[in-house]
C-alpha cells in the first residue's frame, strides 16, 4: 500500500491531469533558473579564484536592496520621473557592485592570498555578515517592493488551454527566462571571444601559468567578482519582482548550494543543468510526494537529490575528474 503510494500513485496523478503536471514543471523550471543564476555566480568566482563565495546569496539581496534603496533616495531628492529614477538607480547600483568587487579584491582577497580554502571561505562569511549589516544600516531592514513597473518588467500572466485544463504562465517568469538565457549566452561569448574572457579561462586552468604569461590576477579577480555581482543583481531583480526584497531572500542562496554539488563547482553548464534539475525535482517532489510525508520537504529535498547523484558521481555531473596523487 505504501509502495503503491510512493511509486505508482503520483504517476497516476500526473497522467490524470497533465495540465497540473505542466504547471508544476513550469514552476520548477522557473525556480531552477533562478537557482542556476545564483549557482552561476558561485561558479564564476570559484573557477577564477578558487574561492567558495558564500556571500553570493547576500550579493543577490544586496544588489536588489541597493537598487530599491537608491530609487527611493532619488525620488526623495526630487527626480520626478520614476522611469528615469529607476534607470539612474540601476546605473548607480552597477557602480556600487563594481566598487564592492574592487573592495573585496583589495581588502579581503589580496591579504589572504595563498591561504587554505577554508580560510577564504570563512572570509566570505565575514563578508556576508558585513553586507547584511551594511544593507540594513543604510537602507533599513524592512522588506521592500521591487520597482518592477519602473524597469518595464512585465506583469500579469498568459493562460494556455491544453489537455482540457488551464496552464498559466507569469509574464515575469517568461521575462526572467529570456533575460537569463541572454545573460548566459552573453557570458559564453564573453568567455570565448574576448581577450579578457580568454584570460579568465587561463586563470581558471592554472593561476601560476596565467601569471607566467603576464595576466594580472588582481585585475581578473575584480572583473570576475564584478561579473558575478552583475549576475547577482539580475537574479535579485527577478527574484525580487516575484516576491519582496528582504534579507529573507538569503535562504535561496542555501537552496542553490545543492545545485553546485550536482553540477560541479567548476562547470557553467553544470550550474545551469543542475539548477533546472533541482528546481523541477523540488517542485515535483513537493507537489506529488510532499503530502505523503508532510509538507515543507522543499527545504531538504534538493540536498537529497544532490546526495543521491553524488553517490554515483562524486565530482558532480560536469565537474572535473579529481585525480589524486600521493
Amino acid at each position: 500500500m505504501l509502495l503503491y503510494k510512493i511509486f505508482i500513485d503520483p504517476f497516476v496523478q500526473m497522467g490524470a491531469s497533465p495540465d497540473l503536471l505542466i504547471q508544476t514543471l513550469w514552476e520548477g523550471l522557473v525556480a531552477g533558473m533562478l537557482y542556476a543564476l545564483i549557482a552561476l555566480g558561485f561558479v564564476l568566482i570559484f573557477k577564477a579564484s578558487g574561492v567558495f563565495n558564500f556571500a553570493q546569496g547576500i550579493m543577490v539581496v544586496f544588489g536588489a536592496l541597493t537598487l530599491v534603496g537608491l530609487y527611493d533616495m532619488l525620488t526623495h531628492i526630487g527626480v520626478s520621473m520614476p522611469v528615469a529614477a529607476a534607470f539612474i538607480a540601476l546605473g548607480l547600483t552597477i557602480v556600487v557592485m563594481f566598487f564592492l568587487a574592487y573592495g573585496v579584491e583589495k581588502i579581503v582577497l589580496r591579504p589572504l592570498i595563498n591561504q587554505p580554502d577554508i580560510i577564504l571561505f570563512m572570509a566570505t562569511f565575514g563578508l556576508t555578515y558585513f553586507l547584511i549589516g551594511m544593507g540594513e544600516l543604510v537602507f533599513g531592514g524592512n522588506p521592500k517592493v521591487m520597482i518592477s513597473d519602473q524597469l518595464y518588467l512585465p506583469k500579469g500572466s498568459i493562460d494556455f488551454k491544453i489537455f482540457g485544463g488551464l496552464v498559466s504562465l507569469q509574464k515575469i517568469d517568461i521575462a526572467a527566462a529570456i533575460v537569463a538565457s541572454i545573460m548566459v549566452a552573453g557570458l559564453a561569448v564573453f568567455f570565448s571571444k574576448t581577450r579578457i574572457g580568454r584570460a579568465l579561462r587561463a586563470v581558471a586552468d592554472s593561476h601560476k601559468a596565467a601569471l607566467a604569461v603576464g595576466i594580472s590576477l588582481e585585475q581578473i579577480w575584480v572583473i570576475v567578482w564584478f561579473a558575478s555581482g552583475l549576475v547577482a543583481l539580475v537574479t535579485g531583480i527577478m527574484w525580487g519582482a516575484r516576491s519582496e526584497v528582504s534579507f529573507a531572500l538569503q535562504i535561496i542562496a542555501l537552496r542553490a548550494l545543492p545545485v553546485l554539488i550536482l553540477g560541479g563547482f567548476t562547470s557553467i553548464p553544470g550550474a545551469i543543468v543542475g539548477g533546472l534539475i533541482i528546481g523541477i525535482g523540488e517542485k515535483l517532489g513537493e507537489f506529488y510526494w510532499g503530502p505523503l510525508i508532510g509538507s515543507g520537504i522543499e527545504s531538504w529535498l534538493a540536498y537529497f537529490i544532490a546526495l543521491v547523484f553524488l553517490l554515483f558521481r562524486p565530482q558532480g555531473l560536469f565537474g572535473e575528474k579529481i585525480i589524486e596523487r600521493v
Binding site: 567558495f52 581588502i107 579581503v108 591579504p111 589572504l112 591561504q115 587554505p116 580554502d117 577554508i118 580560510i119 571561505f121 570563512m122 572570509a123 562569511f125 565575514g126 563578508l127 556576508t128 555578515y129 558585513f130 553586507l131 547584511i132 549589516g133 551594511m134 540594513e136 544600516l137 531592514g141 542555501l254 548550494l257 545543492p258 553546485l260 554539488i261 563547482f265 508532510g294 515543507g296 520537504i297 527545504s299 531538504w300 540536498y303 537529497f304 544532490a306 546526495l307 553524488l310 553517490l311 562524486p314 558532480g316 589524486e324 600521493v326
Partner: protein
Amino acid sequence: MLYREAGQFKTSYASDQAVFPILQDRIGVIVILLVAFFVIPYFSNEFILQAVMIPFLIYSLAAIGLNLLTGYTGLLSLGTGAFMGVGAYACYKLSTIFPGVHILIWIVASGFVAAAIGVFFGLPSLRIKGFYLAIATLAAQFFLQWCFVRLPWLTNYNVSNAIEVPTRTLGGIVVTGPNASPQIRYLIVLSIVVIMTWLASNLVRGRIGRMWMAVRDMDIAAELMGIRLLTTKLLAFAVSSFYCGVAGAMMVFLWYGGAEADTFNINQSFFVLFMVIIGGLGSLLGSYLGAALIFILPILLRFVPPKLGMTIHSATVEHLTFVIVGALIIFFLIVEPHGLARLWQIAKQKLRVWPYPY
C-alpha cells in the same frame, strides 16, 4: 621572568607526555579552575552567569565538538546546529519518558543519540570531501530541522510545538526547570565542560587523535599506513556529534529552559564554525578563545556604547553588530589565519625568552 621551563627536567615518560609539561602552565590552569569553580559563582550576579558564563561554556563545548571534526580530522561540517538540536530533543524525550532517572545521565545519553545520527549523516564523507562534504552536511541541518518542526512526537504533542524543560532535582536541589538557580546550573555546566575537555585533550593526543590528524593531512597516505578511513572518519563524526549533542542538551536544559525548532537553525551552525575558525583549527584552547570572542563581542557591543553616554537606536545597534562582527572576522583572518590559539602560542614563546628577542 616567571615563565621559564629551565630546570624542569622530565625524568619519566609520564611527565614527558603530560598535558601541561611546564609547571607554570599547570599552576595557571589550576588557578583558572579554582576561580571558575569557587570565585565566579559567588561573586557574580545572575546576569553574568546566565547571559555570559553559561552560554560561553556551552558554546565552547560545541566548538570543541566541531573542532574535533573540522580541525583535527579535516572534515568540514555545517550541521552542528542540527546535531545540537538532536541532543536537546533526545534529552527532552528521554527525561519525560523516564522521569525517575538522573537528569545528568540523560544529558550524557542524549550525546550518544546525537552520535548515532551524526554517524549516519557522516556517511557521505567516505565518498566526498571538502566543500562538497560541507554542502552534504547541510542536508543534515535542513532535514533534522524539518523533523523538529514536523514530528509532534518529539515535543510530546505540545501545542506550541516547543519543548519546555521539566523541573528535575538532584539530591534535593533543583537543577533544571524555571526554579533552578543560575549558580547551580553554572556549576553543572562547568563540571561537564571541564570533564569533556579533559577527555577530548586525551583523545586527540592519543592513538585516535593521531589517526584523525593523519587523515586530515592526507587521507590516501593515511590509508596506505593502515588507518581505516571508514572507521576513523565515522568515529570523528560520532565523537563530534556526541560533544555537540551534549552541548545542545545543556543549552536547552541548563540555559534556555525551553526551545523550539528554530533555536537550532543554520545560523547556529555558522556561529559555532566561526568560533572554531577564529579560535584556531585543531586547538582545544582555540575553541574557548573563539567562543569567548564570538559570543562575548556582540554583548559588549550592546552594552558598551550606553555606558559611554552614546544613545544609539537598538535596531541600529543590531545592524552595526553585524557590520562589526563581519569586519572583525575578516580582520582576524587576515591578521592571523591560524586563529587566536596561534596568537597565544606566539605570546607564550615571546614570554619564554623575554626580555631577549630570541
